[in-house]
């Protein structure tokens, strides 16, 4: 199946163009835009890990190594599309337009972090595995019913393909021809379990065959391959062609979460030998003469400032409001819940 589903790439590991049919599309503007998003989310990611180590953030799920997959896919979306992320896809949601302060707040245990930025359809991250896939299918199906051209994208990892909800979502997507992109980031590990123990199939893309659904396997560390593949799938969905499964083969450099020690299950030194998606893009940009040191340095320092400012805002955010413990359980609180709330607050002099 690896031959039926070859890994599509536009850049090789060294940043050389392998698919020359795309050369004209690899402009400086596009390169710089993708680089900017990738650098921005990496800056966020590294800061979040630091904050967690200092006790200033809760347990955090880093995505370093997966920036090309997340940026390439999210950058291809339109503002009115729907995004159904997991807990490791805040790189994608930030690229799509999620608020950075709220993203930090989420990792600090604040429910405000689940609330999507106004006007954007971003679902709170799914913590159970694969459950967001049918949600995306339903939201996409709703768009189709309304006769719109908007689509939904579900993000999920390799481990998720073992869950029933992945298969049930795939089946619904194909039966109802929902305009949905099932965007898989195959980063090789579900916490500690390598993909060889997760599935007997050679690829994830081949699973779409069983559902009569188009699919493609791509180099998820090649941001151009991700972006143009996503664009093609989006065009198909918007024009009534139904769902697509994309398997973006990538690699998580770090831990599953800050509570995990990856050296227990793999050689982290060798893990770091993988080609960094950002360095690959930089190599391409240098080769093309798109890489202006001063311009890049300005972008980097702008992101440092943005992230520092977001941290400051997150840390000076008003303290959690105990009313929020109760108030959003129902549109109108049942009497019993009102009583529980009143009793609790009254006993504490509120």
């Amino acid at each position: 199946m690896e031959t039926e589903f070859p890994i599509y790439r536009i850049l090789d590991d060294a940043g050389q163009v392998t698919d020359t049919s795309k050369t004209d599309l690899l402009t400086k503007d596009l390169s710089l835009a993708l680089f900017t998003h990738m650098n921005r989310i990496r800056t966020f990611d590294r800061k979040a890990i630091n904050l967690q180590r200092q006790g200033r953030l809760g347990t955090y799920a880093p995505f370093e190594g997966q920036e090309a997959a997340q940026v390439g896919s999210a950058y291809a979306l339109q503002d009115k599309d729907w995004v159904f992320p997991t807990y490791r896809d805040h790189g994608a949601t930030l690229t799509f337009g999620a608020d950075m302060v709220r993203t930090f707040l989420y990792w600090n245990g604040r429910v405000e972090g689940c609330v999507p930025t106004d006007e954007l359809h971003i679902f709170p991250p799914a913590v159970p595995i694969a459950t967001q896939i049918p949600h995306a299918v339903g939201a996409a199906w709703a768009e189709k019913r309304k006769g719109s051209t908007q689509v939904a994208v579900a993000y999920f990892g390799d481990g998720a393909t073992s869950e029933g909800d992945f298969h049930e979502g795939m089946n619904f997507a194909s039966v109802f021809q929902a305009p949905v992109i099932l965007f898989n980031q195959n980063n090789g590990y579900a916490i500690s379990v390598p993909i060889q123990k997760q599935m007997h199939s050679e690829t994830i893309a081949q699973k779409a065959l069983a559902y009569g659904m188009p699919s493609v396997r791509i180099d998820g560390n090649d941001v151009f391959a991700v972006y143009f593949t996503m664009q093609k799938a989006l065009e198909r969905a918007r024009s009534g062609g139904g769902p697509t499964l994309i398997e973006a083969v990538t690699w998580r450099f770090g831990a599953h979460t800050t509570a995990d020690d990856p050296s227990k299950y793999r050689d982290q030194e060798r893990s770091r030998d993988r080609v960094d998606p950002l360095e690959r893009l930089e190599a391409f940009m240098k080769e093309q003469g798109f890489y202006d040191e001063q311009e890049i340095e300005t972008i980097r320092s702008r992101h440092q400032e943005e992230v520092e400012a977001a941290v400051k805002t997150m840390e000076s955010f008003p303290p959690p409001d105990v009313n929020d413990l109760f108030d959003h359980t129902f549109a109108t609180l049942p009497d019993d819940l009102v009583r529980q709330k009143t009793d609790y607050l009254t006993a504490r002099g509120n």
Binding site: T131, P134, G164, D165, F172
Partner: protein, 332 residues
């Protein structure tokens, strides 16, 4: 032509369910019916009979056999402008969807601080007593009444079934709507032709009495009423409360009745351990402890899986077992 006023039709509970669905499908074009066999076949209990012919395949949707898929997909539809009315064929088949209901349906409003609600109704026939095959007879309502963010409704009469189902469909929050299979065609009663609602969260005193309060829902209301009739011949006056909504509980109605009678018997088909009866006991303890003249009795299923039907008559509470419990509380 003037609309006829107070037109009523004699209906069974299952016909009242169909009537409520038809009413809302007509007046709210965002409503969709999704489930296994709900279209051409009209549902295994015929609750959606004729609806696909009337409203089309686009709104009365035969789905793949996939409970988590149905509920999960309906979440996406619900947050994006539609009101899915899901049929799960039997409550005993809902468990694959339990994760979706527990981790998403019931929590999305809270997690998004109200930005997204999930206006979804999940209908599920439940309960034993109709000689159904294995797993078709579960009464696991307490798995759902203990789930914050979800309302649970269980009518025992055709009139309440229509009014509560319309209220459930109009509710901005998710509602699990339990339909007693044993009550589906047990009796007919006049049901108004027009749209009306029965308020969610309100119990109903169906028989007034002085000595003992009987609390029941679904098929157990009739069992309680039979026991009350028999008790009356022995000079014991029972008040029968049909709970109608299992979450949120109607604290006032229960407390007022128990404070009047000083005795209570709770009747449910579900197992005793972890059953809703225990929450009712707690409610009575919290509101009416000093009014009690006897310990509150429970008549429930046993702490065993609902048996294959050859033994179900031993499992389901009967008027005789309820009478024995009434007598115990009176004799205490």
């Amino acid at each position: 032509m003037a609309t006829p006023i107070n037109r009523q039709t004699e209906m069974t509970l299952v016909q009242a369910v169909t009537d409520a669905l038809r009413t809302k499908l007509t007046d709210d074009e965002t409503t969709l019916v999704l489930g296994e066999d709900v279209g051409k076949n009209g549902g295994v209990f015929r609750a959606t009979d004729g609806l696909q012919e009337e409203f089309g395949e686009d709104r009365i949707i035969d789905t793949p056999l996939s409970e988590a898929g149905i509920v999960g997909t309906s979440i996406g539809l619900a947050v994006n402008g539609f009101k899915p009315i899901v049929e799960i064929q039997f409550l005993g088949f809902i468990y694959p969807a339990y994760e979706q209901i527990m981790t998403h349906v019931s929590r999305i409003r809270m997690r998004t601080m109200g930005r997204y609600g999930v206006p979804m109704v999940i209908r599920a026939p439940y309960g034993a007593g109709i000689r159904a095959p294995e797993i078709h007879s579960d009464s696991t309502e307490a798995l759902f009444t203990s789930m914050p963010g979800l309302k649970v409704v269980c009518p025992s009469t055709p009139y309440d079934a229509k009014g509560l189902l319309i209220a459930a469909i109009e509710d901005p929050d998710p509602v699990l709507f339990l339909e007693s299979m044993r009550s589906y065609r047990a009796f007919k009663e006049p049901v108004p032709s027009e749209a009306y609602t029965v308020e969610i969260g309100k119990a109903k005193c169906v028989t007034e009495g002085q000595d003992v309060t009987l609390i029941a829902w679904g098929a157990m209301v009739q069992v309680a009423q039979k026991a009350a009739t028999e008790a009356a011949t022995r000079g014991v006056s029972c008040e029968v409360i049909d709970l109608r909504t299992l979450y949120p509980l109607d604290r006032e109605t229960i407390a007022a009745s128990v404070q009047k009678t000083g005795r209570a018997v709770i009747i449910h088909e579900a197992q005793a351990m972890g059953g809703l009866g225990n929450d009712l006991l707690a409610l009575i303890n919290d509101t009416s402890f000093l009014y009690l003249r006897a310990p509150v009795a429970r008549v429930t299923g046993f702490d065993v899986p609902v048996p294959l039907f050859a033994l179900e008559d031993h499992y389901i509470p009967t008027p005789t077992r309820v009478l024995e419990a009434i007598q115990r509380t009176v004799d205490f």
